[in-house]
Amino acid sequence: MIAIEGLDKRYGDFHAVDNLSLAVARGEVFGFLGPNGAGKTTTIRMLMGILVPTSGRALIDGLDCHRQAADVKRRVGYLPDSPIFYDFLRGREILQFVGEMHGLTRGESSARTERLLDELGLDDAAAEYAVNYSMGMKKRLGLACALIHDPPVLILDEPTNGLDPRASRDVQDRLRAAAAEGRTILLSTHLLDMAEKLCARVGIIHKGRLVSVGPSAELKETLAHGGSLEDVFLSVTQPDEAGTGHHPA
C-alpha cells in the first residue's frame, strides 16, 4: 500500500533522508521509530507531498506522492506532529470544513463530524475555538480530521505525543479499531512500548537511514538476543556510528 523507493532528501550537504526504501502492506500497522532528528517527520512530509524528494519516490496505492498529490490525499488521512488550527474556528467547524474539502456533502460531513467528536471525546470542547485546545485535544482533533473522509491509509506523526495516559490509551484503541477495519497505518513514534503493542512491524531510522526493519519480536531476537525493543533501539542508534545494524534488503 505504501512503497518508498530509494527516497533521498538533502539540504545542501545535510542528508535528512538517505536512500530510504520501505514497503508497508495493505492492512498493516507499521511503526516508524528513531531518535529525534532521524528523518521520520521529513519522510512523512514527503509522503504527504509537503516536501519534494531530492531523488527516489514514494508511492501510496501505486500513486506518486509528489506528482499525483491530490489523488494520494483522497486515500490518506494525515496527522502532523504538532497540529495548528485556525484562530476563530470551533473544533466542530474545522472538522466540518475538512470534511467538505474532502468532497463530502454538508450533511455527510456534519454527520461524520458529530460521530468523530463523540468517538474521540471532543464533544464538550467542540464549541470552543480550537486554538484554545490543549495539546492533547489538538491531537485528537487532528486525528478526527485525518479520519473524516474514511481513508484506507493513515499517516500519523507521533499520534500520542502530549496526550495523558487515558487519552493515549483511547487513541491507541481507536487506531487498533482502524487497523481491524483493514486500514494501513504508518505511525512514527519514540514510545517503544506503544510501537511494540500496536505495530505488526517496526522500522528504525537513524541519521536518515533505515537501520533495521522487521516484526519487533524478530528484531529483539536477532539484535538484542532476547532483550527488549529498547535494547534494539539503543544498539542500532548509537550516536557516533550509524548503520551498524541490519540493512534492509
Binding site: 516536501l51 519534494v52 484562530d87 474556528l89 470551533r90 474539502m101 454538508r106 464549541a127 484554545n132
Partner: protein, 773 residues
C-alpha cells in the same frame, strides 16, 4: 540590582527593535544553505540600518519644517486679509520684523499639530498587533526575580524611549521650532528635552492600556480596542501629516477655533515654553508641565500596580467561544460559496482585526486624500476619469489587504490545505474570486456616490474598465502575494516581503493608463496586457505551489506564458533600438532599415531565449521541425490558405469603407516603395521569428494550462493586438489558423508556412485590389 535589571531589560527591548528593523530591510529568501530561513546577523546590516535611520530623520525633519511653515502661512496673518494672505505670509516668513512667529494664533496651530502627533503615535503604538496577541511577555517577565514595581518602572522607561514613531516625529518638530526661536545648533537638544516629558506621559498612557487595561479586558474586547486604535492612529497620523502637505489643510483652519484651554494641556505648555520671551517667562509653563506629567504618571503607575495586584492573567489568552450560541445550521448563502470561501467569510466576521484591516483600512487611506486636498471632492464629481482612477485605487488597496494575503492568512494552519485532495492553486483561485467579488463593491459604491451626471457612454466605459480590472488585479495580488511570501517563516508578520507590496501597487498604478487613455484601442491593449501578465504570473504560481513548503526544492523550468511575454517585449524593444542605431548612420534607407531591425532583433531574441532555456533545462521548448514534416507542411498550407481567404475578404470589404480605404491606400503606396525589403521580411523573417514567439512560446505557454480554444484565442488576440487596429481582424484570423496548425502538428514548420502563405497572398491583394478599384 534594580539598575542592572532595568538596563538588561531595556537593552533586550532595544535589541529586539533593531533585529526587527534589520530583518525588515535585510531579509532575503533563504536558499540552499539551511533547512529554515535562519536569521543570522548579516554583514552590512548595521550600516544599512544607520543610513535608513538617517534618511528617516531627514524626512521627519522635512515634514516638521513643512508643517511649521504651513502653520505660519495659514495662521500668521488674519483670515480677513483674503487673497493677499498668501503673498503677505510668504514675505512674513522670509523677514519677520513686525510679525511675532510665536504669536497666539500661530502657537494654537503648533499645539494642534503636536497634539495630533502625540495622539497618533499613542494610538499607533497601541494599535500594533502586540496588544491583542495571545502571548504576552509579562507572563515571562514576572517569573524573573525582580520586584513588580521595578518591572513596571522599566516598562515605563522602555515605552518612553523606545517609541520610534513618537520620537521620530515629535523631536524634529520641536527642534525646528527651537531653531526658529534662534536656539541655533542646540535646537535638536532642546527639542529632545522638551519632548521628554511628553514621551514619558505617552509611555505611561501606553502602559496603562497595554498592561493595566489588558488584564481587565476580555480577549475579544482587546481585539476590538486594537482594531479601533489602529484606525484612529492612522487617521490622526494623516491629519498631522496633512498639516505639512498644504497650508490649506482644514486641520490648520481648526486651529483658529481652538479654545484657550489647550494651553493647559501638556502639549500647550511645551509650545508655551518655546514661545516664552526669555528663560524667566519659560519657568511657569515649564514648571507646570513637569508637575502635570509627574502627577499623571505617578497616578497611572499606582493604578496599573493596583490592577496587576490580583495577578497578571485574568482571562485566557484568546477569545473563548463557549459563551457564543451554537452556530445556526446552514444559511442559504452557503450554497453559493465553496467550503474555503465560507470559512473565509466566517473568519472575516469573527476576527474584527482582520475585518478592519481588510475592509476599513483602505477606505481610511483613500479617504485621507480628501484631508490633504479638499478640492478633490468636487473634482471627482466633475471628472469621471479621476473618479475611475480613485475607485480603482481604492479597489487595489482593498486587494492588497485581502487577496494579496490569501496565502499568508492561512498562517501556521496551511498544513490543513495540504491534506485535502484539492490542489492549492484551485483553493487560492476560489479565495481570489471571493475577494475580487467583495472588492467590486468599493468602486461600485464610489461611482454610485460621486457620479452626478448619471451614467453616460464615457462613464459606463470607465466603470467597465475599473470593474474588469478588479478580477485581473485580484489574480495579480494573489500571485505576487504567493511569490513574495515565505510561508516557512515563524513570524507571521514577516512572511510577506514589503517590496512585493510595492510591486503590486506599482502594477496597479500602471492600470490607470487604461483609465486615462483616450482611445478605446489603447485601453483594450493595456487591459489585455495586464490580463496576460496576471495569467503569466498565475502559471508561475501554479508551478511553485507544490514546492512551497519545501525550502530547497524548485519546480522544473517549463516554457510558460511569462517566457513568451518576455520574448515579445525583447523583440519589440530591440527592433526600436536597432532601428534607431541603423537610421542614425544616415546611409541606410527606411526599407532596408526595417528589414535589418526586424531580422536582427528576431534572431537575437530567438538565440537569447534558446540559450536561457538550455541553461534552465526548460521543458517544452518549441521546435521548428519534428517527425512527419510533409503532413505538417500540408496542414500549415491549408491553415494559411484559410486565413488568406479571410484576409482577402476583409481587404475587399475594407475597400468599401472610406475610413479604412485611405489607410489601406497609404499602406499600398509604402509597400510599393519598399517592396524589395518588405517581401523577404513578410515571407521569410516574420514567419520564422514571430511564429517562434507567438505560437511557440505564447501559445505553447498558454496551452500548458489551458484548453485548446482559450489558448488559441488568447495567443491570437495578443498577436493581433501587436499588429495594430486596422489589421486586427485579419491578423486575428491568421493567429487562430496558425495556432491550430501548431497545435495539430507540434512543430513550428506548420504555422510558419501558414504565416508565409498568408502574407504572400495578402501582400499581393493589397497591391492589386486598390489598383483594381
Amino acid at each position: 540590582m534594580m539598575l542592572r535589571a532595568a538596563s538588561l531589560l531595556l537593552r533586550l527591548r532595544l535589541r529586539r527593535l533593531l533585529n526587527m528593523l534589520g530583518s525588515r530591510f535585510m531579509r532575503r529568501k533563504s536558499s540552499a544553505g539551511g533547512p529554515r530561513g535562519a536569521t543570522a546577523p548579516k554583514q552590512g546590516g548595521a550600516t544599512l540600518a544607520t543610513i535608513l535611520s538617517l534618511v528617516m530623520v531627514g524626512y521627519a525633519t522635512f515634514v516638521a519644517w513643512s508643517a511649521v511653515h504651513n502653520v505660519r502661512l495659514q495662521l500668521a496673518v488674519p483670515e480677513d486679509a483674503g487673497e493677499l494672505r498668501w503673498e503677505r505670509s510668504f514675505r512674513a516668513l522670509d523677514a519677520p520684523p513686525g510679525l511675532d512667529i510665536f504669536s497666539p494664533g500661530v502657537t494654537d496651530g503648533f499645539i494642534l499639530v503636536l497634539s495630533l502627533i502625540a495622539v497618533a503615535s499613542l494610538a499607533m503604538s497601541l494599535g500594533a498587533k502586540e496588544l491583542a496577541a495571545a502571548e504576552w511577555d509579562m507572563e515571562w517577565l514576572v517569573t524573573l526575580p525582580i520586584p513588580r514595581r521595578t518591572l513596571l518602572g522599566v516598562r515605563l522607561l522602555e515605552r518612553t524611549f523606545i517609541n520610534p514613531s513618537a520620537v521620530l516625529f515629535m523631536v524634529p518638530f520641536l527642534a525646528v521650532l527651537a531653531w526658529q526661536r534662534g536656539a541655533g545648533w542646540v535646537a535638536p537638544l532642546i527639542g529632545l528635552a522638551l519632548a521628554l516629558p511628553l514621551l514619558l506621559l505617552l509611555g505611561a498612557l501606553r502602559l496603562a492600556v497595554d498592561t493595566g487595561v489588558r488584564v481587565r479586558l476580555q480577549p475579544g474586547g482587546l481585539r476590538n480596542l486594537q482594531a479601533v486604535l489602529a484606525i484612529v492612529g492612522l487617521a490622526m497620523f494623516y491629519l498631522a501629516l496633512s498639516a505639512s502637505i498644504s497650508p490649506d489643510s482644514f486641520v490648520l483652519r481648526w486651529a483658529r477655533s481652538l479654545p484657550a484651554a489647550v494651553h493647559w494641556l501638556p502639549t500647550g505648555l511645551i509650545i508655551d515654553v518655546l514661545a516664552a520671551r526669555d528663560a524667566r517667562a519659560a519657568l511657569l509653563p515649564g514648571g507646570l508641565l513637569l508637575a502635570q506629567v509627574g502627577v499623571v504618571v505617578t497616578l497611572i503607575m499606582l493604578g496599573v500596580e493596583h490592577l496587576l495586584s490580583r495577578g497578571i492573567v485574568a482571562h485566557g489568552g484568546r477569545e473563548s467561544a463557549r459563551s457564543a450560541p451554537r452556530p445556526v445550521a446552514r444559511t442559504g448563502a452557503r450554497r453559493w460559496l465553496t467550503a474555503i470561501q465560507a470559512r473565509e467569510i466566517k473568519l472575516l466576521l469573527r476576527d474584527r482585526n482582520f475585518l478592519v484591516q481588510t475592509l476599513v483600512l483602505p477606505v481610511v487611506i483613500i479617504g485621507a486624500q480628501f484631508f490633504f486636498n479638499a478640492r478633490l471632492l468636487d473634482t471627482l464629481g466633475e471628472e469621471p476619469a479621476h473618479l475611475a482612477a480613485m475607485a480603482f485605487g481604492l479597489a487595489a488597496y482593498v486587494l492588497m489587504f485581502s487577496a494579496f494575503q490569501t496565502l499568508n492568512s492561512e498562517g501556521h494552519a496551511l498544513w490543513i490545505l495540504y491534506t485535502v485532495p484539492v490542489p492549492l492553486d484551485v483553493l487560492l483561485r476560489q479565495k481570489a474570486r471571493l475577494w475580487g467579488l467583495i472588492t467590486l463593491i468599493y468602486p461600485l459604491a464610489m461611482f454610485a456616490f460621486f457620479l452626478r451626471g448619471g451614467l453616460t457612454g464615457e462613464t459606463a466605459s470607465l466603470l467597465a474598465v475599473v470593474l474588469l480590472g478588479v478580477p485581473v488585479y485580484a489574480t495579480l495580488a494573489v500571485c505576487i502575494g504567493v511569490l513574495g511570501s515565505d510561508p516557512l517563516s515563524q513570524e507571521v508578520q514577516r512572511r510577506v516581503r514589503g517590496s512585493s507590496a510595492y510591486l503590486f501597487m506599482l502594477l496597479a498604478s500602471l492600470y490607470t493608463y487604461a483609465i486615462y487613455s483616450a482611445s478605446l484601442w489603447q485601453r483594450l491593449t493595456l487591459m489585455l496586457l495586464c490580463a496576460s501578465l496576471a495569467f503569466a504570473l498565475w502559471q508561475k504560481v501554479r508551478d511553485r505551489l507544490p514546492y512551497l513548503l519545501d525550502p530547497t526544492a524548485k519546480p522544473p523550468a517549463h516554457v510558460s506564458l511569462a517566457d513568451g511575454l518576455v520574448a515579445a517585449l525583447l523583440f519589440f524593444v530591440l527592433q526600436g533600438v536597432v532601428m534607431l542605431a541603423v537610421m542614425s548612420t544616415d546611409r541606410v534607407a527606411i526599407g532596408p532599415a526595417i528589414f535589418i531591425a526586424f531580422a536582427v532583433s528576431g534572431a537575437v531574441t530567438y538565440f537569447a531565449m534558446i540559450i536561457a532555456f538550455a541553461k534552465l533545462k526548460s521543458l517544452g521548448v518549441p521546435a521548428y521541425f519534428g517527425p512527419r514534416k510533409a503532413r505538417a507542411a500540408g496542414i500549415g498550407l491549408l491553415a494559411g490558405a484559410g486565413a488568406a481567404v479571410c484576409g482577402v475578404g476583409y481587404l475587399a470589404v475594407a475597400q468599401r469603407i472610406p475610413a479604412l480605404q485611405e489607410l489601406l491606400q497609404q499602406h499600398a503606396v509604402a509597400f510599393v516603395d519598399m517592396a524589395g525589403w518588405i517581401t523577404p521580411l513578410a515571407i521569410l523573417a516574420a514567419p520564422v521569428f514571430e511564429e517562434f514567439i507567438f505560437r511557440g512560446l505564447i501559445f505553447g505557454g498558454l496551452r500548458r494550462t489551458l484548453g485548446r480554444w482559450p489558448a488559441v484565442l488568447g495567443s491570437a488576440g495578443l498577436f493581433a493586438m501587436c499588429h495594430g487596429p486596422v489589421s486586427f481582424l485579419p491578423v486575428l484570423g491568421l493567429g487562430i489558423a496558425a495556432a491550430l496548425a501548431y497545435d495539430a502538428t507540434g512543430m513550428l514548420l506548420a504555422p510558419m508556412l501558414a504565416h508565409a502563405l498568408y502574407n504572400t497572398v495578402v501582400l499581393c491583394a493589397e497591391w492589386i485590389l486598390p489598383a483594381a478599384s
